[in-house]
């Protein structure tokens, strides 16, 4: 299978060393993969299927804020304190993914600066991309003219 997303972004050597720590997992549609506030000790690379990221809204159903598909990185809260999920994740369809234990990956990164740099660069890019998307949505582009303007 042609690598996509994180796996395509990593040079071959670091990718192979990372993949030695990965294991194939599956989630049925509707499965909760992690919960907001839970300990962020794993991450996943989605091979196929879709995952909704959601946020708890007291008194209402959780609000879906983004959908991730094939090739996308699921989870980055494992990388930095407080190592807690700031969103929940639910499979919207049967999901196949590579699952990684964060502590194992972080330990490998300690010994492997090339992987450490490539992985960190990719995760920062992902965070930046999602931040840009969130800011764009704040503009309420498709709303009535001026509805997203300040003041």
């Amino acid at each position: 299978m042609k690598p996509t997303g994180l796996l395509a972004a990593l040079p071959e050597g670091p990718r192979e060393r990372l993949m030695e720590l990965g294991r194939e997992v599956s989630f049925p549609a509707g499965a909760r993969i992690f919960e907001e506030g839970g300990r962020a000790d794993h991450f996943w690379v989605i091979r196929d299927g879709g995952v909704n990221l959601d946020i708890h809204v007291p008194g209402r159903r959780s609000a879906v804020v983004e959908t991730l598909g094939a090739g996308r990185l699921l989870g980055w809260s494992w990388l930095c304190p407080p190592h807690q999920w700031h969103l929940g994740a639910e499979a919207t369809s049967p999901v196949h993914a590579w699952e990684f234990d964060a502590s194992e990956v972080l330990a490998l990164c300690e010994r492997d600066p090339e992987l450490d740099h490539a992985l960190l660069t990719y995760v920062v890019e992902v965070i930046g991309r999602r931040l840009r998307a969130a800011r764009t949505r704040l503009l309420d582009l498709y709303g009535p003219y001026g509805s997203g303007s300040p003041g």
Binding site: G50, E66, T67, G69, A70, T136, L141, Y142, G143
Partner: protein
């Protein structure tokens, strides 16, 4: 193209969303020349005023326009009853030019009401499947309730058609996020793809940037721009965007021309 509006009769006025309607018009007498997908008409609500509206359907000699009621004229047009007459001038502007994309993969990216000018392009592409490669249609909207032509994507069938919304309600089981995130699911060979993009200009810039990053040539990214069009004949200058008069040189232009202009502040 006519300088004087020709009378057209409203044969239907159906709601798309809470503030958006689709009008179907037929000529009372003489008909305007044929429109091409991507071109626009000047619609005149008698006694109120005239606005530019892209053509959203071209079937059986009728003109279809989808418009959102946001100002005096568009609200008046949204309120017209079947049987009422409106004035129509056109066709104006450049079209999407689907024949120039013959043999290439097609990528249609629509944001909000930007799907309306792309609809006749999609219909034309669906009717000539042998003329092009894979067809991908990516649609973004504010909420599920804001999606236009909701019954049509199911009938489109063959192409990949992805829909995403910025804000999902509990009933929505589809994708959530900006429209560019759907590109990962689309099947196209970037350097052999022609993209057609219409929506808010921030969305056009974000999509153009992402398509360039993926290797779609700038001249093969066709975007539809919008400015304040008055005369629609390139004389009054209201729709000027840098060196372009968008009523004449647009609204559809290549991203190689649009990108530097969209990067200029207050242009």
């Amino acid at each position: 193209m006519t300088a004087v509006p020709l009378p057209y009769r409203v044969v239907s006025n159906r709601p798309e969303t809470t503030d958006t309607r689709t009008l179907t018009l037929r000529p009372v007498g003489e008909a305007l020349p044929a429109f091409a997908p991507g071109q626009f008409a000047m619609l005149y609500a008698f006694g109120v005023g005239e606005i530019p509206v892209s053509v959203a359907g071209l079937q059986d000699g009728a003109l279809t326009h989808t418009l959102r009621g946001v100002g005096a004229v568009s609200r008046a047009l949204c309120a017209v009853r079947p049987g009422t007459q409106v004035g129509v001038r056109g066709p104006f502007g450049t079209g999407w030019d689907l024949p120039a994309a013959t043999g290439r993969d097609l990528l249609v990216v629509a944001g909000g009401i930007g799907l309306a000018p792309l609809r006749p392009l999609v219909q034309a592409a669906l009717s000539t499947p042998r003329n092009h490669g894979r067809l991908n249609i990516l649609i973004g909207a504010r909420t599920p309730e804001d999606l236009l032509y909701r019954s049509e994507p199911d009938a489109w069938g063959r192409p990949y058609c992805g829909m995403t919304v910025d804000r999902a309600g509990p009933e929505w089981t589809g994708h959530v996020g900006v429209v560019t995130t759907l590109l990962d699911q689309a099947a196209f060979t970037p350097h052999e793809t022609t993209a057609f993009v219409c929506g808010p200009e921030v969305m056009i810039r974000a999509t153009g940037r992402e398509l360039l990053h993926r290797g779609v040539p700038a001249q093969h990214i066709r975007v539809s721009l919008e400015r304040n069009m008055h005369c629609a004949t390139g004389h009054c200058g209201h729709c000027q965007l840098g060196p372009l008069l968008l009523c004449r040189d647009g609204p559809v232009v290549g991203y190689d021309r649009a990108e530097p202009l969209l990067a200029v502040r207050e242009l």
